[in-house]
């Protein structure tokens, strides 16, 4: 592992003890494959296996009769201690934290019921209160939509969704295929019968999902968007605008994933590129800065912001 969280001391040895105890006699596996499976270097695996091999009592009872030969782990015979080690092993706090966070991260892509029972089993496997990595995002999982998508995927059933497009809401029949998540935002890869092609839907924009009886055939050739590059808003978005942020707020913009710096000005203001598809979304984005951000181009979006501001001002004044 480079740069990642390391397991506690002894955690790798325990997992390997369980692994060798579960191997059938005569089986062998390369240390590099094992290293990949256990998320560490081949050297770490070898060092930990040497400790596992060293376990023996006065009567030479071992966990398993395994050796390391030419970069491979070979199991010759079962060991006397094997039975106890073959059972699933309790999780360490870090492992529990890792598993619970991973489940949180995929929480929109799996049936909420299965996730809940799995979370419970992971917590039981740790057996003590684990301080978890708190996970959140704008838009907690909408259980009804997630569940409908999960069932549609498992049962190959067509899903009818309500999805906004510009200012309208369309009803679309889709064949859901795969969920993708980029920096906390979930997308659903699906074949859209309305658009007659593969489409990516932002999960938090799906207003409702209804499971239909109709089945669909799996489309092996469908193009999936699963990589960061695929769903990076820069590529996903169709239009670009230049937004100028005032010196008061310009430095905050560096951390916004949807913005790319174009130019910094001597007075401390800065121009950023905003990628967008939906004009009203982009206009609201700009307006949230209360006049500290201004659209430089395109004129179309400038006009949209101007129109909205004027409309809202007259609404407020009309009521006053």
């Amino acid at each position: 592992m480079t740069g990642g969280v390391s397991p506690e001391p002894l955690a790798l040895e325990v997992a390997l003890a369980h692994y060798v105890a579960s191997m059938p006699e005569g089986k062998d596996v390369s240390l590099s494959d094992l290293a990949f499976e256990f998320g560490c270097s081949a050297r770490d695996v070898e060092g930990a296996l040497e400790s596992v091999i060293e376990v023996e009592d006065r009567d030479l009872t071992t966990i398993s009769g395994v050796t390391i030969e030419n970069g491979r782990l070979v199991k010759h015979l079962s060991g006397g201690y094997e039975k106890g080690f073959r059972r699933p092993v309790r999780l360490s706090p870090v492992q529990g934290r890792a598993a619970l966070l991973a489940l949180d991260l995929v929480s929109r892509a799996a049936d909420p019921g299965i996730l809940e029972s799995l979370r419970k089993k992971v917590r039981d496997a740790v057996g003590e209160e684990v301080p978890e990595v708190a996970y959140g995002g704008r838009g907690e999982p909408d259980a009804a939509v997630s569940e409908a998508i999960d069932r549609a995927r498992n049962e190959n059933r067509v899903l009818e969704i309500r999805y906004p497009s510009g200012e309208e809401v369309n009803v679309r029949r889709i064949e859901p295929a795969l969920m993708s998540n980029i920096e906390g935002v979930w997308y659903l890869n699906a074949f859209c019968r309305y658009a007659d092609g593969a489409r990516l839907f932002r999960l938090d924009r799906i207003l409702s999902a209804k499971l239909l009886e109709e089945r669909f055939e799996h489309r092996p050739d469908m193009e999936m968007k699963t990589r960061f590059e695929d769903i990076d808003p820069r590529r996903y978005a169709a239009k670009r605008a230049v937004i100028r942020f005032s010196p008061a707020i310009a430095r905050w913009m560096e951390e916004r994933p949807e913005l790319d710096l174009r130019e910094e000005h001597p007075d401390g203001s800065a121009d950023y590129i905003l990628h967008y598809t939906d004009e009203s979304w982009a206009a609201k984005r700009v307006m949230q800065y209360l006049g500290e951000a201004a659209v430089i181009e395109p004129e179309e979006l400038r006009g949209e912001v101007r129109r909205r501001a004027a409309e809202m001002l007259s609404a407020y004044r009309g009521r006053a």
Partner: protein, 345 residues
């Protein structure tokens, strides 16, 4: 079965410790939860026998028993650190040890086919740069075996921007939290536009909208603070030389530190009513559970940060119903927006 096949070289100190700890677990586990005393442990397990004998040569039986007992205490701790619970009872010479099956294996261990597939699928979904990938693999190996044997389709793909600095900081802070180590780092405060050295007792990590945070007690400011990892500059260092235990963890350390709504950074003192579309209201209630409530058709929220709430209102395309001060702030903003967009630049 003995292990004389091709065992190469001599184990280093850490390897020997791991082998000794594992042999204790194996020996006690094999015994089905019965208690074993120290004499039978040292007679049956050569790695404990040698601990005893090394001290015996130096200072006799009493010292040797003492050294063995201390070693056992450390090893029981090390096993507990990875979740394996050896039970020890009695004092001095009468001390006995056991490892019941449930101390090694969780009581309910069977995962259904769907659960296995979600668990293994989570790992595949997270391949890219999930900082906890290593421990997650071990968790899966411990609960369902090595995952290569599970052949099921991926059900999700989680992609993040690769940021090695953040992953490394997560690793360092995770270790500091586990060992209760106070840390020191340079931090860029974006609201003050300055970098300063902070000393923090880290309590927990959080990942919100794909952004990593650490929260903990800021010893200079004497308050719980939250730090965004991407704003940490340079290395995170230990504040003391101690191996562990610089502070006591807070009572309630689990899931307590989600970032607050930007307009509630201080204790909310006023309440706002905002008119938004029905769909926007539903989405806002999902996004800020417990912060945003519904009153008829209006969105209701407490606030202290007027500017932040005014900005959020405009991002929702909403209209302030009350109070007037917030309404005034929004109108002022709208006038500024209208001014900034008046003519072509």
């Amino acid at each position: 079965m003995h292990n004389a096949y091709g065992r190469g070289g001599i184990l280093n100190r850490n390897q020997t410790a791991a082998a000794r700890q594992l042999s204790l677990a194996a020996y006690l586990l094999y015994d089905g939860g019965n208690f074993r005393d120290e004499a039978s442990i040292r007679r049956n397990l050569p790695l404990y026998g040698s601990v005893y004998e090394a001290s015996l040569e130096k200072g006799g039986g009493e010292l040797a028993s003492d050294a063995l007992r201390k070693q056992l205490a450390r090893d029981v701790d090390a096993l507990a650190g990875v979740g394996i619970r050896v039970v020890a009872e009695g004092a001095s010479e009468g001390r006995r040890y056991s490892l019941p099956a449930e101390g090694f294996s969780p009581a309910e261990v069977e995962l259904s086919v769907e659960e296995r597939s979600v668990f293994a699928g989570a790992l595949r979904a997270l391949r890219r740069d999930f900082p906890y990938a290593g421990p997650l693999r071990l968790a899966i190996a411990n609960m369902i075996g090595a995952v290569s044997t599970e052949a099921d389709e991926a059900f999700a793909a989680i992609a993040t921007r690769h940021d090695e600095n953040v992953a490394r900081r997560v690793a360092v802070l995770e270790r500091a939290i586990s060992r209760r180590k106070r840390v020191r780092f340079d931090y860029f405060s974006i609201s003050r536009d300055e970098t300063s050295t902070r000393e923090v007792e880290p309590h927990s990590l959080s990942l919100v909208d794909g952004v990593w945070y650490v929260s903990g007690w800021d010893t200079n400011r004497e308050a719980v603070r939250q730090f965004r990892m991407s704003r940490v500059r340079g290395l995170i260092k230990n504040a003391t030389r101690k191996e562990r235990g610089d502070f006591e963890p807070p009572e309630d350390s689990s899931r307590h530190s989600e970032p607050r709504a930007p307009w509630q950074l201080e204790e909310p003192e006023k309440t706002a009513h905002i008119k938004v579309s029905e769909e926007t209201l539903d989405a806002a209630m999902h996004a800020y559970p417990g912060v945003v409530e519904k009153d008829g058709d209006d969105l209701v929220t407490g606030y202290s940060g007027e500017r932040q709430l005014a900005g959020w209102t405009l991002s929702l395309g909403g209209e302030v119903v009350s109070p007037d001060s917030l309404k005034g702030r929004v109108i002022e903003g709208l006038e500024k927006i209208a001014e900034a967009h008046r003519d072509t630049v």
